[in-house]
Symmetry: C4
Subunit: 318 residues, 4 copies
Amino acid sequence: MNKKIQDDNIDEEVQNLGLSSKDITKGQRLLNKDGSFNSRRTGLPFWESFNFYHYLVGISWIKFIFFVFGGYVFLNLIFAIIYYLLGVETHLLGVIASTEFEKFLESFFFSSQSFTTVGYGRISPVGFWTSSIAAFESLVGLMCLAIATGLFYGRFSKPVSKIMYSKNAVIAPFKDVSGFMFRIANEQRSEIIDVEVRVMFSILKDVSGSSPMRRFYNLELEYNKINFFSLLWTINHIIDSESPLYGLTKDDLEKGQAEFFILIKGYDDMFMSNVHSRSSYRFDEILWNTKFTNAYGFDEEGRTIVALDRMSEVEKVN
Amino acid sequence: MNKKIQDDNIDEEVQNLGLSSKDITKGQRLLNKDGSFNSRRTGLPFWESFNFYHYLVGISWIKFIFFVFGGYVFLNLIFAIIYYLLGVETHLLGVIASTEFEKFLESFFFSSQSFTTVGYGRISPVGFWTSSIAAFESLVGLMCLAIATGLFYGRFSKPVSKIMYSKNAVIAPFKDVSGFMFRIANEQRSEIIDVEVRVMFSILKDVSGSSPMRRFYNLELEYNKINFFSLLWTINHIIDSESPLYGLTKDDLEKGQAEFFILIKGYDDMFMSNVHSRSSYRFDEILWNTKFTNAYGFDEEGRTIVALDRMSEVEKVN
Amino acid sequence: MNKKIQDDNIDEEVQNLGLSSKDITKGQRLLNKDGSFNSRRTGLPFWESFNFYHYLVGISWIKFIFFVFGGYVFLNLIFAIIYYLLGVETHLLGVIASTEFEKFLESFFFSSQSFTTVGYGRISPVGFWTSSIAAFESLVGLMCLAIATGLFYGRFSKPVSKIMYSKNAVIAPFKDVSGFMFRIANEQRSEIIDVEVRVMFSILKDVSGSSPMRRFYNLELEYNKINFFSLLWTINHIIDSESPLYGLTKDDLEKGQAEFFILIKGYDDMFMSNVHSRSSYRFDEILWNTKFTNAYGFDEEGRTIVALDRMSEVEKVN
Amino acid sequence: MNKKIQDDNIDEEVQNLGLSSKDITKGQRLLNKDGSFNSRRTGLPFWESFNFYHYLVGISWIKFIFFVFGGYVFLNLIFAIIYYLLGVETHLLGVIASTEFEKFLESFFFSSQSFTTVGYGRISPVGFWTSSIAAFESLVGLMCLAIATGLFYGRFSKPVSKIMYSKNAVIAPFKDVSGFMFRIANEQRSEIIDVEVRVMFSILKDVSGSSPMRRFYNLELEYNKINFFSLLWTINHIIDSESPLYGLTKDDLEKGQAEFFILIKGYDDMFMSNVHSRSSYRFDEILWNTKFTNAYGFDEEGRTIVALDRMSEVEKVN
């Protein structure tokens, strides 16, 4: 392969990542471990690029429950204040309270009974304004229920964080040559079907005397597609003379701020949706002369057992 | 390329847009900026081609909230009138009212308490007809809640207006030749995966003495596919001797009522659905001898920053 | 093409329809106009092959509303009978009734107030059994609401009956030869993207003295794919010497019980889902020496107008 | 085909199943009849790999209804205990009870009236703690409703167990040679579109004196794709001299612990989603010199009838 062809190939890779080669020569990691880009956007108003629904679908259950509960208390407080200001004694029938604070509490509980539409009726609204606000609050409550239903469904039906990556990638002898290897595991009890993996290698290179430029290369894989991915898969790039890694040492990777990008696509049979996963290994996450230990075994009935907690275990190779 | 082949190619493009070449020789824009066709359909009853659900999913939040609130008030008014006509004093227990208007208000609030199923019970129905209508209203209220739940979920889960286009396209020197370029940005905080772009060029041509005919050409792109589209992408058609734009001037485009159609496809990782976007640039939206300014930068930690508010910024090229 | 190759090709087509050639020599239509197979299945218990949810999603709105309302009345009647049998006077507080029928009515309305969870409270349950049944009924009511929500969403988000077919197909002179043509229209105000059409022709043939066998052929189309399908598309198979229709007359088609199968695939931008449509034209739905009239026009602003009600209009060709 | 090429081919197949060839030489079935892998995973905490939503979507209706009802009773018991401990007489107005057990029952029914938001109001909460717990319980009730709605929708919209496999596969004379055949049927009243089938054959082989290794081969099918799958399809691999089954006897298959893997992909028109199905036939599920009986017939109107209950019926071939 001559220089011209290589360069064209490089540019294409850069484009394929949606990055411009001249902007990425600094020492920062390009892709975070979780697959997000290590970049920031400016210039857009916060709300234009922020999607509240997807924020609430993406946060942890603890945060979500806190949000639901906090929102409920907050909205009830707002309405309680309104009811209190409109007058508890004249406009809320059946209030049992002697102090102002107790009156406010009764407003608050009346509010919660309207919001949830439980409406026991011991306390009930009288007069135009209090009745109107209560009618409005019940509507708000039902709309919040409608939204919460969508959020719960969105949270439940969203396939998240399914593919685990081994902590490190290894470079180790493989057959007669050596190989770049890492492992992925399927954390969920589902089958991922028609899984495709793509690995790209990026390194800074001195190009004819100018400042170093970041280059991108596709790595050929031993197998880049499997029919199902149920448990564990070791992905392997053979470092033969065709490989862009050929002849590179640990020091070369460090000097070149090397980074390996992993792109995985598949179809999840349980969630019935496409699955995409990305991650990266930096030069300092590569173990040399090391291989993964065997994580397979058999139980007493002859069934295969896979120990997913040992997916990152490695052993030295001499 | 001889005339015969070109013509076949043109016809195909026309078909590919689902248009008939003889019907589109007038001066109107074919595709609106928002990607909708600039055409009208007649002959179908309104309700047969109108989808109420998708109308309500597509409108702005302001309009939607107005619709929900207005619908609530409207339905309650209908039922309030029925309760009022059936007789408030004899068929609604617990009404507190001295004037006819107050009686109507109590009917209205009773209606809202039935519709939302809050049912405080200070006012309650007695007798066959009022009880039956109230039972029916509660059912209607629950069905409206069911529908609203679907609408909220539909609105939240629908990926809308994600891809921003630069205000103008530019024609500027690129490498040794020149290029037709425009920019797209991803407005959302999501990655769009496997993005494919297709650009078509359309111009009126005199064909062997007859009236001018609109012709369509595919434009070859420097890159027509990227793996992810996270921030900003400049799409480039090189105007070499193979290009249908080769040798055309600004005046030629105006005389030919030239229009460029953009078709974008991808998969949104956050919304987990396919994304399609369309837009067009007309001859009067093309800037000549102009290029886009650099919108990339670095923050103090070396991370890439992209200024999306500067995506349409251009500068003169001499 | 020799006989052997043709026969293999035919068998493949048969397989492609999932039918066995020897079973389909009778005179019945194979595919109904609505795209369903004209066949019956036996041997499976009704409930195993019947999907209640999809039945309710597929029926008309009138039927669906009747089902919802009827189900509501039916369930309330069941519970009303139970409350009545458990004893109205002792176990339902606040009942206002003098006759047995009025007592039953009060049971019924109490049931509806429990089912919808409106629970005014004028009538309220006392005692273990009535309270338990009421608690159970409220749960049933909420579960019915949950199911109804899914049904409404399923009905709204399902893309149905989008593609209209012209009443007839025509065989008419086209360019120098002749063509088999039909028209499809997009009934909805949506764009269908990446539309692919496949047309198959089936006819009974005498094969070497045996009883007639049904044969299947793919028809080559002038264009079998368009980028968007917004309004109207005329699909055209040119009957040249390569076509299996070449030289066949109207009588030949009738004798051979000819049938044309249409398969359409696309992606609906509004419903964000794949769209599949099937239909067929039988020999007696083919008009000869006839062509479709022009359904395109322009409004005063130069915008294209398409008259969908004229999609099936034809005119004689001499 | 020489030995080297065969071996590479084998390895690839092994990878395609996501299995490692050296780990699967034991006598256990690899794929269960229902398509799940006959393997176990260890090392992950239960909750990390367990998805509660998908568990509840996947269980039978009986279990699901039991879960809903049991959960309702359980949650109400919890809240009933709290209300009871907070004091029934002072904090719940309107309780009608003389014994402690009756007081607890009233707490329970008050709880159910709060949870379902029916809130008759005969019993209503007074005081800070009881009112607060009741306000919280109503919120919990609504959230449970939101979750139940998602679960019902998930259960209804999930396409499950659609494709039935014939009980046995057969090996029988076909044309001049013989064939490996099995049948699939579409249990649902839907069309499955663009169905693709892949069959793999696996057998233990002695490889150059070492312990037996499990080998994997793709089987070529007569047709591996059909346009629609409405009723019944017989899948056929012709055992000619190219086939890995060529020359193998019943004893060979048993000694080699042979297993046939079936992979089916398609698109379900009714459920509007992709369908994947897997199954396997082991050597002891293969019938020799046997063929499937004809399951097609005609009704009095000439329509095709398919008897799905006869899909597994076979007859001896001499």
